[in-house]
């Protein structure tokens, strides 16, 4: 019988298989950032072990780094201690590290792909749940816990039980103005934040094939928010075109060998999935979240739901609690919700393509004086590219802040935070209570909606902006 993409990648990495035991899987790339628990390195040191393959390991600084005045020491002592610990551990164990100030620094899930380190058919892990991002290349990529990090550092392998597979098939043409972010918010609203539990999702169908690599990364990035272990997209010409010529991509005859192998990876026609969800692309429109988990999303044309709409008591309580935290009244049109802050960035939507979309909306317009707009590139390379294209000028002329690279306001671990009670439209991935700062309220949106919202000061799709004079 045929095999799925995920199964093919799995099979090719089994170092040891024994009845009744987890498979021992080889890991091709291990990414590390400063929040990856330093205990993993302590564990190695305590048992006198070394990092088996520092040359398959790469560290960056992203979560705790400030996005302004990066020449100054990090002010928060806890943040500084984490960054210092990472630097010391990398130096001691010989792990390559891109520190603040380095041209390759940035969010770990932006840096890996842009260097060409993430390639089809690889296994990629990181002590971070959004490692699923790398699945956009047809890699099997997933987040791991502290003791697993130590295991991979010491052995470059992990004992793992197989995952189940789920096909998310999106066929048809995406309407204009509908992006990968809207697709993923619609998928999560449909299957719920636990709907993907135990599964590797494979995104398929003509709408997925038409997405750029950046769009596919957005989609796979958010797979974790549906509870899935990983998300994947089969490699195709779009993937190869993105990779060709990147610093760590194969070259010469290696390139041809690699591409020939990559072409064998897509799911066989006679393979079966353990579950399937089918979505008609033409029915999708810009999505936003109204609640406190990524599954609480609706088309922007909709209204805040009422607890009375709930299918059961559990959902009723969840809606009530979310509305209270978000300070929203049932029936309020989503497009009338005002925001204080717009955040464009994160490993979900902090890539060059996202910034281009935002610039296209902001060009010739001004952001609302009532709104603070932060535009934070996912990496230094993205920042430089945006500047080379003049996007920074567009942002600054519109009245937005153009920042240095990092996780920034995706999570409240650095100086970029919401104040209690503040409300944001954010291109990041989690609208949990307090995620962007204690008491802060988050609406997840696409880059296009973020930009239009910056202009009007309330949740807005670009199609509803008046034309530039």
């Amino acid at each position: 019988m045929g095999r799925t993409l995920a199964e093919k990648v799995w099979d090719a990495h089994v170092v040891r298989h024994a009845e009744g035991e987890p498979d021992l899987l080889y890991i091709d790339l291990h990414l590390v950032h400063e929040v990856t628990r330093p205990q993993a390195f302590d564990g190695l040191r305590d048992s006198g072990r070394v990092v088996r393959r520092p040359d398959l390991t790469l560290a960056t600084e992203d979560h705790n780094v400030p996005t302004q005045d990066i020449g100054l020491p990090i002010a928060d002592p806890v943040s500084r201690a984490q960054v210092d610990a990472l630097r010391a551990n990398c130096a001691e164990f010989g792990v390559p590290l891109y520190s603040l100030g380095d041209v390759e620094q940035g969010i770990v899930h932006v840096v890996g792909p842009q260097l060409g380190l993430t390639q089809p058919g690889m296994t990629v892990v990181c002590g971070d749940s959004h490692t699923s991002t790398h699945g956009a290349f047809g890699a099997l990529a997933f987040g791991i816990g502290t003791s697993e990090v130590e295991h991979v550092l010491a052995t470059q392998t992990l004992p793992l039980k197989p995952f189940k597979t789920m096909a998310i098939t999106v066929d048809g043409d995406l309407p204009p103005g509908v992006s990968a972010k809207d697709v993923t918010l619609a998928v999560i609203a449909r299957i719920g934040t636990g709907g993907g539990q135990g599964y590797v999702l494979e995104y398929r169908g003509s709408a997925i094939r038409s997405l750029s690599m950046e769009g596919r990364m957005t989609l796979c990035n958010m797979s974790i928010e549906a509870g899935a272990r990983a998300g994947m997209v089969a490699p195709d010409q779009t993937t190869f075109d993105y990779l060709e010529g990147r610093p760590h991509a194969p070259s010469g005859t290696d390139w041809d060998t690699a591409v020939a192998h990559w072409r064998t990876l897509p799911t066989d026609d006679d393979a079966t999935f353990d579950a399937e969800v089918v979505i008609d692309a033409s029915t999708l429109s810009p999505y936003v979240t109204w609640g406190t988990n990524p599954g609480q999303g609706l088309p922007l044309t909709g209204s805040v739901p009422s607890p009375d709409d709930a299918r059961d008591e559990v959902e009723r309580v969840a809606i009530e609690r979310a509305l209270e935290y978000m300070d929203l009244a049932p029936g309020t049109p989503l497009s009338e919700i005002p925001v204080d802050t717009v955040f464009v960035g994160s490993c979900t939507n902090g890539r060059i393509e996202d910034l281009r979309v935002v610039a296209d909306v902001l060009r010739g317009r001004k952001v609302s004086p009532a709104v603070r707009v932060l535009i934070v590139p996912g990496s230094v390379r993205v920042r430089l590219q945006a500047q080379a294209e003049g996007l920074d000028t567009v942002f600054v002329e519109a009245g937005a802040e153009w920042r240095e690279a990092g996780c920034s306001m995706c999570l409240a671990m650095n100086p970029d935070k919401l104040a209690p009670g503040e409300r944001s439209a954010s291109t990041s991935n989690r609208n949990f209570e307090g995620r962007q700062g204690p008491g802060g309220r988050t609406h997840l949106v696409s880059p296009a909606v973020a930009a239009a919202t910056a202009v009007t000061g309330r949740l807005t799709a670009p199609a509803d902006l008046s034309p530039v004079a």
Binding site: Y26, D42, S47, L58, L117
Partner: protein
Amino acid sequence: MESFVVHTGTAVPLRRSNVDTDQIIPAEYLKRITRSGFEDGLFAAWRKDPDFVLNQPAYAGATVLVAGPDFGTGSSREHAVWALQNYGFKVVLSSRFADIFRGNSGKGGLLTAQVPQEVIEALWQAVETDPSVPVTVDLDRRVVSAGEVVSAFEVDDYVRWRLMEGLDDIGITMQRADQIGGFEASRPSYLPTTTAVT
């Protein structure tokens, strides 16, 4: 990991049931960047009470914790195991452990030995009567004894083997070094490394 065959030490009676991992180590201690030093967070809320058993000088230096039923429930945090180990405990005895805690303990090298609640009661009595009574935990024979009290205990076979061999997960995988090396030798040459930029 040190191998564990027979251990003798003094014991602490913890007359509480349903001790969850938030009690073992409160969340505020989890921000630490080291793996050691978690002993100060162990049962932090209870230790504010000067009468709490761990604060009694008679039980200083104990290495065996005799706990009530349903020990280690709640969120999965490896820090709970580290806190107990950093404090000096080698063994926890209870009539019932939460599965995840048990799994984490096995990985971390802390022995969770399960005995009937009557045995727990008898042990509590023995160590409360004489805190200096030596408690012996024989993992090879699966027997715990303290003075007059002698009982068999249950432990997962795999965990027992690992503890006796002194192998953690990583140690077990490292025994497959040849297979890993063989796999590495067959990896295609086009796969990237993080160091060499072509």
